[in-house]
């Protein structure tokens, strides 16, 4: 049986899957917008958003990391057609509950929405991403970006 090719993070980030917002936005709305981007490009199925929301309610994905606060919403692979990562950089934070303590809220300015299809092929990508959270500069620099293009460039450069 042919082995499926391992996916690179570089290939999973697409300029069309990035949201940069200076205006205040509600958490549900930004999650919907990110889900819609993934849906419009065919990466996920229609019910992906519902999966994201119900997952976030029972097992939230807000993280306090070395580099700053971040959220990594994701859901079951049955809602996914093709692996991708949608990114939101928000100038005004939204509140996420913490992954390790669902009773605690944190302010999040950066969201990586993960559409995961096969864990074996995407483990490297998720590992690279979470390793970047330990870099004291990666998330901070991302937060300083002033446009979608800058967000895209910064991520591309970091994972090349």
């Amino acid at each position: 049986m042919a082995k499926t090719q391992k996916v690179k993070l570089e290939d999973m980030i697409d300029k069309n899957l990035i949201i940069f917002s200076e205006k205040a936005i509600k958490k549900e709305d930004i999650l919907l917008k990110l889900s819609e981007l993934l849906y419009e490009k065919g990466y996920v199925k229609k019910n992906f958003y519902d999966g994201i929301i119900s997952r976030e309610e029972s097992f939230p994905t807000g993280l306090i990391t070395v580099g700053g606060n971040v959220a990594i919403p994701h859901t079951d692979s049955e809602h996914v057609n093709k692996a991708a990562i949608a990114v939101a950089v928000l100038k005004k934070p939204v509140e996420f509950y913490r992954m390790d303590d669902a009773s605690e809220k944190i302010d999040v300015n950066i969201i990586f929405m993960l559409a995961i299809k096969e864990k074996e092929n995407q483990v490297g990508v998720i590992s690279n991403l979470t390793s970047a959270f330990k870099d004291p500069n990666f998330l901070g620099d991302l937060q300083k970006a002033s446009s979608k293009e800058e967000v895209f460039k910064h991520i591309k450069n970091n994972f090349r």
């Binding site: 997952r55 097992f59 994905t61 306090i64 990391t65 070395v66 995961i116 864990k119």
Partner: protein, 95 residues
Amino acid sequence: MKKKVLIVCGTGIATSTVVNEKIKNLAKKAGVKVDINQAKVTEAKREIENSNYDFLVTTTAFSYKVDLPVINATAMISGIGEEEVEEKIIAKLKE
């Protein structure tokens, strides 16, 4: 002796996979053989009942009452306190 480890997260595919790789590496370094399985938190209880795990590692808050040691490994995702968690896991692997 082989250690049997169950790793759980909300979906059983994302953060548990990252932790799975890390524990594999820790075990290799420690010279311990491991058998690792991944599951959703909601499947953990059934999984534990059907198999004899040595310990459980979770990346999300784990509130179920289970009859085996539970290690919270969110630190392996966030990087904060990661070394302590690694030490805890190595100790459990070597037990």
